[in-house]
Symmetry: C2
């Protein structure tokens, strides 16, 4: 869920940059995904499940793979798609492919409305707040419920198939909420790295960045200190034109820095890079957001051993470090600060969601974390959202709707979290009841457990997956006894 | 919930009459309600909880009575208002007033949006489908959730008050659904006479009218047979102008019958009268829909002992019978067929709900019931709804949303049903689990248990109330142990 943070961080550090997203931008092409043997299908869905005035429909895309499915009501593993192209999540959720045979399961990957090809109003979907009005988690969950009922009615032998929701990041939040709100549709949910408590004042707003900082601290002597010192180094240099020029050259920026605001953007871009690195600090070479080496934070930290260097030497090292993230393939000729994570995520849609329902308070203090101090500024977010779309965020709504920490009456949800993952700050990391279970993966980054098996997997993630399959079998078995 | 049926019955028997509701109509004045010691309050609510484009609000009315409330987090009994003026429900839900002291409970009665004073767009609320677009059960439940959170935040000592949802009829459906969807807001629900299964094909469409018929069959020899024979008697007479004139005079109609369509309306009006009588067949003199004697169906049946009479004699008896319902007070000079139950219910709003979410299939066969055979005709409903408001009903949505019969994973709901109440046909009348409990009241009509204690109460309703209080105490106790 890199984009969960991105808008927040941008808003946190540099209000106004959000609007840059509204302009068209050049994108790097992503490496082709490894083809998975699935069929692509579309279902006609109500654009507005909760109102009857406009009776419009759109085509929701979903992917389906039944190679291992036992036709006599074998289970269905249902990926609750999040803020991006569903094929990308399909190809990055190897866990589901790995366990399909053992569970005799059909796999379904449902695309979230307003992302990928599932655009309610085609090219007009993002044109204004009227067209964006149906981009909410509630509408997305309703799509999932209707889709599952359609599949059970139309696929021979699926009438009584127990369905398990699986998702990671925002998709994990959706999986958990789906089980909470539609327990008649899914018998259980695996919510991987799902920060369902990163709302209101449920968790301290600084916890997220403290985890990022700890990842860097653990990954190399002097590493987090170097980053903490880099901000002032940038501040010093950006106070003169020569310094700005030097920064532009040193960081190989495609567009040179012209003023303090540009320098501020450089700091945002760097901050986001460190955050993204913490999220994808996987134990093997991987290509989730970017092609990266194994344990990329350690790789980055190799360049950041000495925090006491002079400004310029320190920042030259910082450049070497971010180079690991943006240029591991060696193909980049210059860096475009408007490009950070991956083109597979729908930034504009997610920004809108942050501007409405998904208000996740974040802050830094520069003491418990390695970032420049920045208070959580709801009013600034609200103003920016109003300026962009004429909408105001309603931070309390998601708590009213999904219950905040008061969720103990629900059942059959596994919350998995990685100890390295900053999103674990807002996750459920302790058991709530016998059937609301937390699984910690101390060596894991952002939903490592949902990725394909890998020889370099730490023991903790292997154990987590075993436990996850154990619970899924339990839910399936219990559902089977009912019929 | 008389109006739950009314629109269906009208549509069933006489398409087109629905549109008459759109015209202004004269209303009888209801007897003044006995004043209950409550305060009237208003809360600003989002008109659209599920979208952010229009950020409009309206004032939701609620009534609050804290005479018996224990300020140190004593419980709150929360009436989930249904399709009418909340003061009327407040004054007809004596059970809550009767148990407030024993439970040290605060009482709150929340008005359902689009009814009573809680009109989102004032006088424009019903003007077209744009303004009606926010009249859904989901929006109403969201209002309730937001209101409860507001009360807990603003009333000193209510922070950890356990809240129990209570409702009857459609309000009972809302109470049950509220616990299902917002278990973090209410610790349990008492759903009285709530036909949550009167949807899709969950129950036979004819069961409702079979119960009405059985009530009349049990209440007097020849009674249901007389009514069954009355339809053909009307058909015979209405084939001539003289017969129509005779019918108009005999039934003291304010507007004389002019053609077969008017005669059809007479039959609808009579059918609805029998149905309403079955619903309010209470064991004591009462004034719920109309002022009525004790066991009104028995009173009615005193006039309907001989089904073998000639057409005219039979219909003269039918007139005497309906006179019990419409003229128990002796004040009516003529009968207006457009007035049936009570002015306290919001007919137009409920019709719209029937035309969108609340599609409850109903049918008669004339064999298992005493009515003229009539198949369930969804297409006719859909056409009528489209003609009136440009909306189409979505009969499967309520099943997708609330789970149909697949609700066993929920908890802490008591479903009470009266054996005399036709709505018990669509109710939960058998236990689903230890905490989804059915209470049958064989001698009870429509939510008799929610009415005030009465010396004539049958033992079954007294026992039901004892059990209901027992469960409520259990929920309160369990919630208390958490804090």
């Amino acid at each position: 869920m890199p984009r969960l943070l991105l808008p927040l961080l941008l808003l946190l550090l540099l209000l106004g940059q959000l609007s840059a997203l509204l302009a068209p931008r050049r994108r790097r092409s992503a490496p082709p995904p490894s083809p998975a043997p699935y069929l692509t299908r579309y279902l006609s869905q109500q654009i507005d499940h909760f109102g009857f005035d406009e009776n419009l429909t759109f085509q929701q895309r979903y992917l389906i793979a039944d190679q291992h499915w036992k036709k006599d009501n074998g289970p269905i593993l249902f990926y609750t798609g999040n803020e991006g192209d569903i094929t990308w999540f399909c190809n990055n959720t190897g866990f589901m492919w790995d366990v399909a045979e053992e569970l005799n399961a059909m796999l379904v990957f449902a695309e979230h409305r307003y992302y990928g090809e599932s655009l309610p109003f085609g090219n007009e979907s993002f044109s204004d707040s009227k067209h964006l009005n149906y981009l909410t988690s509630e509408q997305a969950l309703a799509d999932f419920a209707v889709l599952i009922e359609y599949l059970k009615e139309t696929i021979a032998g699926a009438r009584y198939s127990p369905v398990i929701a699986i998702g990671g990041s925002y998709g994990g939040m959706l999986a958990a909420w789906f089980r909470m709100k539609y327990p008649h549709v899914v018998v259980g949910a695996l919510a991987a790295s799902a920060p369902i408590w990163q709302f209101g004042d449920l968790v301290p707003c600084g916890a997220y960045f403290t985890i990022v900082t700890n990842d860097f601290k653990k990954s190399g002597t002097g590493c987090s200190e170097s980053i903490r010192n880099s901000w002032n180094a940038i501040n010093h240099l950006s106070s003169t034109d020569a310094g700005l020029q030097w920064l532009s050259n040193t960081f190989h920026l495609c567009s040179p820095l012209k003023n303090l605001q540009d320098a501020s953007m450089l700091k945002s871009w760097l901050s986001e890079t460190w955050v993204d690195l913490a999220m994808v600090d996987y134990p093997y070479k991987a290509d989730f957001l970017q092609p990266l080496p194994a344990w990329p934070v350690q790789e980055v930290c190799k360049f950041l051993k000495d925090p006491s260097l002079s400004d310029k030497l320190l920042l030259q090292n910082v450049y070497q470090a971010v180079n690991v993230y943006y240029n591991y393939s060696g193909e980049a000729s210059c860096f475009d600060m408007s490009e950070t994570a991956t083109k597979n995520l729908g930034q504009l849609g997610w920004y809108y969601q942050v501007c409405t329902e998904m208000v996740m308070p974040m802050c830094t203090d520069g003491v418990n974390d390695m970032f420049e101090p920045q208070k959580w500024d709801f009013d600034a977010l609200s103003e920016e959202c109003f300026r962009l779309w004429g909408v105001r965020p309603r931070p309390s709504w998601v708590l009213s709707m999904y219950g905040g920490k008061n969720i103990s009456s629900h059942s059959n949800i596994v919350f998995s979290n990685g100890g390295l993952d900053p999103w674990s700050a807002g996750g459920v990391t302790q058991n709530i009841s016998d059937s609301l279970v937390a699984i910690m993966i101390p060596d894991g980054a952002h939903h490592l457990d949902l990725r394909s098996r890998n020889p370099c997997d730490p023991k903790s993630v292997k154990q987590a997956r075993v436990l996850e399959v154990h619970y899924m079998k339990q839910w399936i078995e219990k559902a089977r006894r009912k019929h």
